[in-house]
Amino acid sequence: MAQHSPAAAHAHDDHHDHKPHGWRRWVFATNHKDIGTMYLVFAGLMFFIGGIMAMVIRLELFKPGMQFVDPMFFNSMTTMHALFMIFGAVMPAWTGLANWQIPLQIGAPDMALPRLNNFSFWILPFASAILLLTLLVPGGGPAGGWTLYPPLALQTADAFPMTIFAIHLMGASSILGSINVIVTIMNMRAPGLSLLRMPLFVWSWLITAYLLIAVMPVLAGAVTMLLTDHYFGTTFFTAAGGGDPVMYQHIFWFFGHPEVYILILPAFGVVSEVIPAFARKPIFGYEAMVYAIASIAFLSFIVWAHHMFTVGMPLAGQLFFMLSTMLIAIPTGVKVFNWSATMWKSSMTFEPPMLFALAFLFLFTIGGFSGLMLAVTPADFQYHDTYFVVAHFHYVLVPGAVFSILAAVYYWLPKWTGKMYDQKLAKVHFWLSAIFVNVLFFPQHFLGLAGMPRRIPDYATQFTDWNMISSLGAFGFGLSQLLFPYIIWKCVRSGAPAPARAWEGAHGLEWELPSPLPYHTWETPPSAAVIARGAEH
């Protein structure tokens, strides 16, 4: 691709690249690309640690009876699997993608607060290490579920303060990362790139960042109250001292529901970038997409109690939370319809990012359907805390959030490295993932409806068949993910050079930059003509 003035300018800048070498480049990193890479590598590592925990869970559940682990260890596996996947894998992966892409997509030279950026990343390895080390302390890891409901969570042994400290650290990291995202987007957009011309990935992250800043302190407050209940004689959540264990659940889910949208909103952004690129057609209803994300974010604050319909709420409360939860289907529906309309009368090709985005479209919609079913309060009395719920949230988080992270990496990797990966192998990765993820999670709907509770290490014998299928799916899914780091490693080492616009239909300022990317980009903001060419959504 012939690049005009910006490319020439960058070739010149290249010459003055002060790229630090050795460990200093990473420990003292302030470059958004380096920090983005570190976030993504870290997230990948955590994905595999959380994945090993999932394998332990599915191994024990392969047949009835206890074969491999103590129930307490099983409980700490379910607890830690959730914490590692949410706070270690998915959230840092999104922050890594934000770091890489937001400056490139809005024509900014870097994130607004580079040292804060360094700090918010380097908190994470320590937080994860502390959390992982709980497995070695007396009493084992936290085993009360990732929701840490008291009074059960208060029975945790030495792992308790470590878990809470780790959560505080991860929360602090997220808040700092979000501040950085908001400041960057609000202040560093190229002149002329108005808010409603921003790519949808940037929009989805802007809204996600506000959600994070709103709810992370709520989680910090909730777990701090647990800590003082445990060690300093307060009784916020202890009925014997006049406290209220249900209040914890309200506070937790006031954080927890926006949190699940924090995991999925950037996915909406990625899919809204990838589908138009491979459909060679602008996104349908750009503004509706922005408003839909904003409405979903708003609704996420008023639906929390649908996670706790069985605690014994007044009728009016149950009705309110049922109706508000049902409302989410409307903006979510708008998004799915808009993606479908984008594909209508398009000209599609099916490279790996597109395959993952399409799988997202189908399978996230299935997760949405089970979500709608769960919203119906009387039916939820049957579904609640069964494998139906496990199936539901894994459908929205694995083929939802995780597939869209894979789509994003496969989409932007040629830009980041300047090299093309082995697309054939990536397609193998896709097909194995897409098949096994359904073998893994679809039978869990049946298990839940048949009455299998979640978070149990052993089960009644009639649940055996579907558990075996689900476990086989899990092993297949886990093994196929090993292809992913191999494909990236192979690409970095020996990928063929990729053109600046790696995909024919890709639009956006990042594709106006040369490949391989110089260490510093957009040191002079893109011109109006470049923005106009890049910002066609």
Binding site: A239, P245, I330, S340, K345
Partner: protein, 288 residues
Amino acid sequence: MIRKALAPIAALAAVSSLFFSQGAHAESGWHLLNMRQGVTEISREIYSLHMLIFWVCVVIGIVVFSVMIWSIVTFRKSKGAVPDTTMVHNTKVEIVWTAIPVAILVAMAVPAAKTLVQIEDTRNTELTIKVTGFQWGWQYDYLENGVRFFSRLERKADAARQLGSGVDPNSIPNYLLDVDNPLVVPAGTKVRLLITAADVIHAWWVPDFGMKKDAIPGFVNEMWFNVDEDKTGVYRGQCTELCGRDHAFMPIVVDVRSKDDFQTWLKATAEAQKQAAAPQPAATANAG
């Protein structure tokens, strides 16, 4: 792509074919695909709400997935499809696909709210039993009759479920779903449970009754059920709120008897418990 997209639909069709084979209790678990209808009016209403929302999702799914699959098959670059890049916005269409879901949701919310109101109607109950969850079992307390007992996992299953016990769970009838002392209730009676907990949060659930409720220390939750007169029998469930190490091993068993049988049982049990509580001669007290 197409085959993968169709897989869930095929699976949904498989589910639907099962509604006609209800009640087949084979040894294998393959037939366990759908929620059971249960044995109370409420559980059947919940079942029909579940089926209603399920079919709504199936219909929407067929429409939406058909459009997607049609697009994927038809609008391919390899088939020479030319993108219509002017198609970026259409207010009319967007209003329609916002309004239709609103209508569906309202249609869904009305019957759901009705059932919810019915579930919360705790008037005119005829028998009250206090249920206390503890780590790891249940205590049942017939408040009006002075009968009270603990209910725990049956011993053989408890031995078999130990790590490396070497006992095949399949050799134990109702593995993990059987207790030493089941809760006994009369059929055709509105039974009220007052549910609480002694230590951490538990949840009391018998799928056939359609309801579950959390047992929370410091709270007394209320829940009721009324089993059909002709549906006497044994119904099983489990604790459904993570409550620690042996959460999976605190089943719930309810023995539903006819009103007469229940009265006989209640009298006999009350008498036996009175005897057991009465001061005993020294010799037997030692043995006890």
